[in-house]
Symmetry: C2
Subunit: 387 residues, 2 copies
């Protein structure tokens, strides 16, 4: 593994592919942290296994497990899934596994961003975060891929979404937060994103989902479903604190254009009714930093936008809510060539995120760009929308 | 990774290649155990790094490091070497990393033997050994290779040597020891070796090197250098306790034939003068099971036979002994197409083994059988002796 410090993906001809481009596989982390996952993580592990198995129907899945949980992971996961031993502080593969970039020759490299548990000593969620922060580089080493060292810039994978055609979606609440890169202004942050993701336009949504303790990651409120098209988490309930937040995002998106100059088609994805912590669930969480990590009645940042786009499926959360079916139908319409698999995700949500947060895709190596442009008929199992 | 319980390599057409056949790479483990490696392992790690870098000149090297030592391993090893996180109880890759077998189509599988720290509760060297015993399977999973489950048979990689043509060398002292498979007799052990290594003849040397705490592994006293040819650790000093041991092996080999019916050409490799522990070295070793692991004046099982055959080099130990140069010349003559690299190995020897013990080769995948048969001229860097 070569560690690249003196260049950027953009300068070297690498770009971050969109999640709907073809994957080689997916990385996940086996959960065990007792202040994140209730009652020792038994329910969370079952939910993670369901997600991993759903994705493994489309692409190779690697699950990283600590030495303590390795045997357990190996026995809970089917043999088509690879389990590797790797230490971490928690299980958010999206946020600290590598962001992968790819060039026209189909070569893959990783980006190793800095990670400080969503805000470091300012408003981070746990301490320490050293093992999480090592994971991107460890994975690139494991995969024999060169890696860009950008640890001096704090960024989580869940705080960015790209369309693969020059546009990146972020939230102001997260990227301009005081716990990440307080010495950088918006223009400086844009330059780093453009240099490392090889994009030319950053779309700044004002906020994310109410109560999202990641300082409102974009991946919980808005996601590209195709170039020029997004889904946006939405509520019609004007009394909900989320209403104004989603509305401000909608208005921003309706007035914006992407890197190609296209206006953006926004598909509203309903939110479930507020999901709140029970006292019984709170009793099953260890304290962190001397405090309870959840309180009874606390609203969780539930959103159907937090789905994963696998090669042949969409793996999305369900909450036992009347909107589960409607959200599933909307995603089925938007991804007509992928099977939508809905997994009951309350046990993931309690940890503070959802299916997109616990997954990180690896793009295919090799030249497969034509795949993105191919007409729908060319490959019945593959999403091939384009504007 | 598929775990194969109901078949054997032999039944499936797989065989263990000889070490002098072409390698894909080599596995090593980063040392840190404070009752094995003096003064916290600083000197041992430097010696291991020299071995890894020497081998990396010929083939891909993967070094497994614990979570505690990962950063240190990554910074001590060059970027051409891959470092992966993996727990172990100690650093003997030969003895508990997979034995690899290969079929005519060039497919590779692993064998996961049982490991009990060289004798379990009878005369094993430490407790517990659970993490060592997990490594073979973990590595096969990491490498996406299917693995034969043979954990019900205790065997270390250092206790076998094969010629790749149907012959396996072992020692009676080790394979018939009471701490390994006391319920099996010699005939039953031979059957397992034949089934799993795909050999048809087992050569049973009576013993190994005096004081070798592995119950005298064969890889410290005798090794194939080509089909029909071995080196044997030898002393001319008739007063040395080793003299009768080596002489008995010589007499056995001179009267034996291999699987192809050939007599065996024995090249004597001189032993260094006895290497003994100093009081200062003993002071730097933590106790194990409440006892000192070494005592001042204790003779270590030093032997030049404990070398590794890399694709383009022989990596062999040196002891600062007058025989270092002679042993190097003998191996240079026996491997004329490989560079012989001698590494001062006292800091490895103190741990209880040597260069062969801390390495495990991975054969190349793909059909390269012609490589073994090719005349010497075909590839100047490659060993291609045949009878």
């Amino acid at each position: 593994m070569r560690i690249i410090k003196d260049s950027t993906p953009s300068a070297d001809g690498f770009r971050m592919p969109a999640e709907y481009e073809k994957h080689e596989g997916c990385i996940m982390i086996f959960p065990e942290r007792s202040d994140s996952w209730q009652y020792g993580g038994y329910a969370a592990r079952k939910a993670f296994v369901k997600v991993a198995e759903a994705i493994a129907g489309s692409e190779k899945v690697t699950v990283c497990a600590s030495g303590r949980q390795y045997d357990n992971a190996r026995s809970m996961l089917s043999e088509r899934i690879r389990v590797v031993e790797m230490s971490s502080n928690d299980a958010w593969a999206r946020d600290y596994c590598p962001t992968f970039v790819k060039n026209d020759r189909g070569e893959i490299r990783g980006i190793d961003w800095g990670f400080n548990a969503w805000g470091g000593l300012f408003d981070g969620l746990y301490f320490p975060w050293d093992q999480d922060n090592q994971m991107a580089r460890k994975l690139c080493d494991l995969m024999n891929q060169d890696v860009y060292d950008k640890r001096d810039f704090i960024l989580e994978g869940g705080s960015i979404h790209v369309d693969g055609q020059g546009t990146c979606l972020v939230t102001e609440s997260c990227l301009l937060s005081k716990g990440r890169n307080p010495e950088l202004d918006r223009v400086e942050i844009e330059k780093i994103l453009c240099d490392y993701l090889n994009v030319s336009k950053i779309l700044w949504l004002p906020s994310g989902i109410y109560g999202d303790e990641t300082n409102e990651h974009v991946d919980n409120i808005c996601a590209f479903t195709a170039p020029g098209e997004v889904v946006l988490a939405w509520t019609e309930d004007v009394t909900d604190v989320q209403y104004d937040m989603s509305k401000a995002c909608l208005e921003y998106l309706e007035s914006a254009t992407d890197a190609k100059g296209r206006s953006i088609r926004v598909h509203k994805l309903p939110l479930p009714k507020p999901v709140t912590m029970t006292a019984q669930e709170c009793d099953g969480l260890d304290a962190c930093w001397g405090e309870a990590t959840r309180t009874p009645g606390e609203r969780l940042a539930a959103s159907y936008v937090n789905f994963y786009i696998a090669n042949h499926s969409i793996v999305m959360p369900g909450f036992g809510d009347p909107s589960d079916e409607k959200a599933k139908m909307i995603l089925s319409d938007l991804f007509p060539n992928r099977e939508v698999i809905q997994i009951y995700a309350r046990d993931i949500l309690i940890g503070g995120g959802n299916i997109h947060c616990i997954t990180q895709q690896i793009p295919t190596s090799g030249r497969d760009m034509e795949w993105v442009k191919a007409p729908k008929e060319a490959h019945p199992l593959v999403q091939s929308r384009s504007d």
